[in-house]
Amino acid sequence: MNVLACLKRVPETGAKIVLTDDKQEIDTSNLGFTMSPHEECAVEEAVQIVESEGGHATALTLGPPEATEQVRTAVAMQANDGVLLETEGEEWKPENTAGAIVDFVEQRESEGEEFDLLLFGNESADTSNYQVGVRVATELGLPCVTGIKDISIEGESVVAKREIPGGSEVYELPLPAVVTVKEGLNEPRYASMRARMQARRQEVETHTPERRTESGLEKIRLEAPEDDEGEAEILGEGPEAVPEIIRVLEDELEVI
């Protein structure tokens, strides 16, 4: 089984999101970066499938040179190799990202390497467009299902489950296929220090993709939603607050 996991580098925002003055980006001058959570599960799944079925797990990102950091994290999680589709750091639109991933997959195919399973996140954490995986599948003519929280390989197919209230929907797709996943699919491993050191030495295959189209969705600016921050009523400090908590639960909140 050859499995491709596509991941994105996103800022690790905390208690408050600060925007740049031109409101085009999140101000990342004080932030670290991480891999989107859904995609961490995609990488973990790719590695687990290869561990049980044999084959090769490839982690790919499209982003600035710094995004090799997230590819290396995937390699430290035991992906066999890493690929960077290098950009100048500007935000790529989903059509263009999908196009670049398709070009990469087709190039690998022409070199005789086919991916049996292509894993994506259901939506990227930052732009949340809900479409790169579907667009890649459509262009490659592959079957696709989104929002998956359970994957098993059964012979020549992949059985994928999507959570619904009270249970799950089950889909069975012939391989090769595209599956987009959600956090909760598995428990991504923590890469050991040793694995991280080794990953630092791994070569990351780098390509510079062409942008194919200009998309019809154009960002004008970002805005942080209004803060609902008010003054909390402090009920007390330490266990002495208990009688006051009881009073509030009973009289004001009416939950007891």
């Binding site: 954490a125 809900y130 299902v145 089950v170 969705l217 004008i220 970002l222 266990p239 939950v255 007891i256």
Partner: protein, 322 residues
């Protein structure tokens, strides 16, 4: 014409579809045009009155011999065919798993752009849309162009309001022409889960635990408190990543969305990705050692205390109440 993809369960329209219809009606009235809807599955005709009340003139019920269950690509192809048959200038779907999936397929097939999770739309040659990014922690103002505009509507953000002339929608059946590849992915079966207890999303009271809880065992303290309050127990991503709770209990951007009467976050700092899962909460009572924690700013009530002391003490007093 504005074409709406409506989801229903055996003739009962989903709330998210009513919310979507409310925004769609606004778009239709800006364009001074009509609204039509496309539905799949048994019971489609039963919703004609409901949709009429939301301003839908015509309801296209998709019928095809090979289409008896959900099939994302086949639904997308059908929606595109209804759209071109009716000359729709806009196609709108709810921001649900299926809504996003079907519209993304339609966009990919037709080479169109799509704007996910919109809150507001101003029409024009290009549309100006306000949409959610980062699971709702950020808004994006964007311009959507293309021959047909495809967009989904964020869930739980717009209050559903009937309107229009409230006559029952006219029902028309539509037979799409589907290829084998359209039908290669279909819902195979539904499995019921054996989960017990109150689902997080429905609980009236939720007790949440974060990194401050410290261990899986210490979550027992929160369980005991929850029992006294008929509450469900949730967690932050930090607590889930530590392996103290399963992902089912995670609240936030990549977890469950809760809307309880009361939320009691214990040892949770209040990161934006956590708070976005608690938007529907009416009252928050935070327990945290740090009076400067962001969660205190979001709360109505706060107790500045070590949760390991205050939670058991509170539980005991509740247990001993007459």
């Amino acid at each position: 014409m504005v074409l709406c993809v409506v989801e229903h369960e055996n003739g009962e329209v989903e709330d998210s579809s009513f919310e979507m219809l409310t925004l769609a009606r606004d778009v239709a009235s800006q364009l001074d045009t009509s609204m039509e809807a496309v539905v799949f599955g048994d019971g489609g005709d039963a919703i004609a009155a409901d949709l009429g009340a939301y301003g839908v003139d015509t309801l296209h019920v998709v019928e095809h011999a090979d289409l008896d269950g959900y099939a994302p690509a086949a639904w997308a192809t059908s929606v595109s065919q209804v759209a071109s048959h009716t000359d729709a200038e806009t196609v709108i779907a709810p921001g649900t798993d299926r809504g996003h999936e079907v519209l993304a397929h339609a966009a990919a097939r037709e080479g169109l752009s799509m704007a996910a999770n919109c809150l507001e739309v101003t029409t024009g040659d290009a549309y100006e849309v306000t949409r959610q990014r980062w699971g709702g922690t950020l808004l994006e103002y964007a311009r959507l162009s293309g021959e047909t505009k495809l967009l989904t509507v964020a869930k739980n953000e717009i209050s559903a309001e009937p309107g229009g002339d409230s006559a029952e929608s006219a029902v028309e059946s539509f037979e799409p022409s589907l290829s084998e590849s359209d039908l290669s992915v279909r819902l195979d079966r539904v499995e019921e889960s054996d989960e017990e207890g109150i689902p997080l999303g429905e609980a009236r009271v939720v007790v949440g635990g974060g990194r401050g809880v410290g261990s899986a065992e210490d979550f027992d303290k929160l369980e005991a408190l929850a029992e006294e309050l008929d509450a469900a127990v949730g967690a932050s991503r930090a607590a889930v990543n530590e392996g103290w709770r399963s992902h089912d209990s995670q609240i936030g951007q990549t977890g469950a969305k809760i809307s309880p009467h009361l939320y009691i976050p214990c040892g949770i700092s209040g990161a934006v990705q956590h708070m976005v899962g608690c938007k529907g909460t009416e009252h928050t009572l935070a327990i945290n050692t740090d009076p400067e924690a962001a969660i205190v700013g979001h709360a109505d009530y706060a107790v500045i205390a070590d949760l390991h002391e205050v939670v058991p003490e509170l539980t005991e007093v509740l247990q001993n109440r007459p």
